[in-house]
Amino acid sequence: MEKDKNMQEPKRCVIPIGPYHPLQEEPEFFKLHVDGEKVTGIDIELGYNHRGIEKLSEAKHFDQGIFLVERICGICSTSHPFAFVNAVEDLAGIEIPERAKYIRTVVGELERVHSHLLWLGLAGHFLGYNTVWMWSWKYREPVLDIFEKISGNRQHYAMMKVGGVRRDIALEDMPWIEKTLDELVKGVDMFKGAVMDDPVIWARTKGIGILTPQDIKEYGGVGPLARASGIDEDVRRDDPYAAYNMVDWKVQTWQGGDIFAKAVVRILELYESVKIIRQCLTRLKTAPGPFDLKVKEIPAGEGIGRHEAPRGEVFHYVRSDRANRPVRHKIRAPSYVNVATNEKSVIGCTISDALIVLAAVDPCYCCTERVAVVDAGSGKHLYNGNDLIRLSHEKTERLKKQL
């Protein structure tokens, strides 16, 4: 029966976008079924970048786990720790000190700023507009400088800790941070003027890859993707954590659901984030108290933690049996649902449009992967951990000989 169905299907041309393709920084496979330049279907295949983070986390104690989830993704390198500590604190019923709340918020929002600037640059690159790419990433540099000042690292800030944060933001650094933010806003203003009013950019982004609010609901889309379709949802406001309910800010939405709307929402969020950071820094100048509760024991139980990552809601579930490590740690990153919306948005586009649509969800595949290496015929697992270690040892030996 199924075979008949396959035979009746007309022969289609497939354009393989991936597993390795200049569009993507990470391996992922989109099969575009095309008729001439028109996309008639898409298959999304995940699983080229799986690292078994959830299993690894069960072997690490709660303090190490934060460093582990930080390495899920280099761009959201504070989103996962943020959601993880939220989950563990939910489990243990910990209320963190005020100062820690502000510092967490500053780090979370700075990350959003750098992530959105990174996407804007990449979107330019995907459209063949490499000047936008380079300029956007130049404006992103001050944000990374601020991170370096606060945490010592440009990426992987390691600021989150169960019961607080790992380091304080020093009072003497604050004037410099505020000044750098001023420069950043000036840069973003100019960038916005030059790019968002460009008629050729309009021609490439307006009315392309439209997601209706109904589509978003059906696919469970989150983050800027949903907000660009006019859906007013944001974990920061809907389920407040850290200092998000203690400062004044607005959830930015836009109508249309096309690529232009997605870009506009991200640019507007840049300004909101800077606003939040400024308020937090002002409060931090006077906020008293410790920035870390020095939690020693995690009780048995289960907890969930959420954080509005730059790409949408990231969700962590943690279950503990009173040992020093989680029994189960479940992670759901925003791209997991957002990438699926491509099914709706690319069909009917031309190939050129389809590719910028694929990129417009700001996909982060390393967060998304789920995989196991099995033999398709017998269903037998092909590799276990020891096999992989043996293989990598052998390869290292081989490479050593070649050197």
Binding site: C13, V14, I15, P16, H21, P22, L23, V34, G36, E37, G124, H125, F126, L127, G128, Y129, N130, T131, V132, W133, M134, W135, K138, D198, V200, I201, A203, R204, T350, I351, S352, D353, L355
Partner: protein, 303 residues
């Protein structure tokens, strides 16, 4: 005979054009880098890259047609070098009888695109076939306004010989100084942008979409030929416009004019996103064709 061979292979043909192309490519990359707040490559970088490609392995696609696949880049390079040779000869000695007329150059300038399409068709890759179909559409798009725009110098000078057009401009002033000439030049700049395969008309190679399009399956020396051809195209394109519309002054002035037109192309390339192929065709058949017609009518009326 020897004279023709020397002219084609050494000066001002292949060797000279290749060196000029590498310098043009370096200017392109350096200006691009400076616009994008980057440092940019050293002067010899294009040469290093071509040299390195020549020592790399050549991989023939399994389900392509190998002969056509190998021949296409030679065909491509040969036709571009021939145009370069004709253009340089015409510039160096405009009064020299027949070194090729406008119609020859017009068709020779279409050949590289045809060679590209041939190579793509022979490589059996879906990316290349999309690249080829885009290349064909682009060719159909820009040939119409280019033909119309080239009528302006023909009408003005009353000749289809490149030498006569240059001599006419040297005695009566550059065509770009007239109303019809400047419009035709603007149309020409856009068409040459597409011929050189630069943004916004690079849909046929569109790296982030179809991974290099027509040339996606090429590697090693064959890829070097494509790259070299593209570099020489950076010389031929703007130089053709200089001859047609702006051919006054000594060789230094002419070189500066060429660099100016090249820089315009580089700036257009760096301040625009890539157009979709249908948008590019609409652009050429719509505004560009109308502008070229206006220029032709104005030239008839003597403006």
């Amino acid at each position: 005979m020897t004279e023709i061979l020397v002219s084609y292979f050494i000066f001002p043909g292949f060797l000279f054009a290749a060196a000029a192309g590498m310098i043009a490519s370096w200017i392109d990359r350096k200006v691009t880098a400076r616009v994008q707040w980057r440092q940019g490559p050293p002067l010899m970088q294009p040469f290093y890259e071509i040299r390195k490609l020549f020592i790399k392995e050549t991989i023939l696609p399994a389900d392509g047609s190998p002969w056509l696949f190998v021949l296409a880049p030679f065909f491509y390079l040969a036709s571009i070098v021939l145009v370069a040779d004709i253009l340089f000869l015409a510039l160096m000695n405009p009064s020299l009888g027949f070194v090729g007329d406008l119609i020859v150059v017009f068709y020779l300038l279409a050949l590289p695109a045809v060679a590209s399409i041939m190579g793509a068709a022979a490589s059996g890759s879906p990316f290349a076939s999309i690249g080829a179909s885009r290349e064909i559409k682009l060719l159909l798009g820009y040939e119409v306004p280019l033909f119309a725009a080239l009528l302006v110098p023909v009408i003005k000078s009353g000749s289809i010989s490149l030498g006569d057009i240059i001599i006419y401009q040297q005695s009566y002033g550059a065509l770009a100084g007239s109303f019809s000439g400047i419009i035709a030049l603007i149309v020409g700049i856009m068409v040459v942008q597409a011929k050189m395969g630069l943004v916004p008309f690079d849909a046929a190679e569109a790296e982030t979409e179809i991974a290099g399009g027509c040339q996606v399956e090429y590697s090693g020396p064959l890829l070097a030929l494509w790259k070299l051809g593209k570099m020489i195209m950076l010389v031929v394109g703007p130089l053709f416009l200089v001859i047609m519309f702006w051919a006054t002054g000594g060789w230094l002035i002419l070189t500066l004019k060429y660099v100016a037109l090249l820089t315009v192309a580089i700036l257009i390339r760096n301040t625009n996103p890539r157009l979709r192929i249908d948008q590019a065709m609409r652009f050429f058949w719509g505004p560009m064709f109308i502008a070229a017609l206006v220029a032709v009518i104005a030239a008839w009326m003597g403006y």
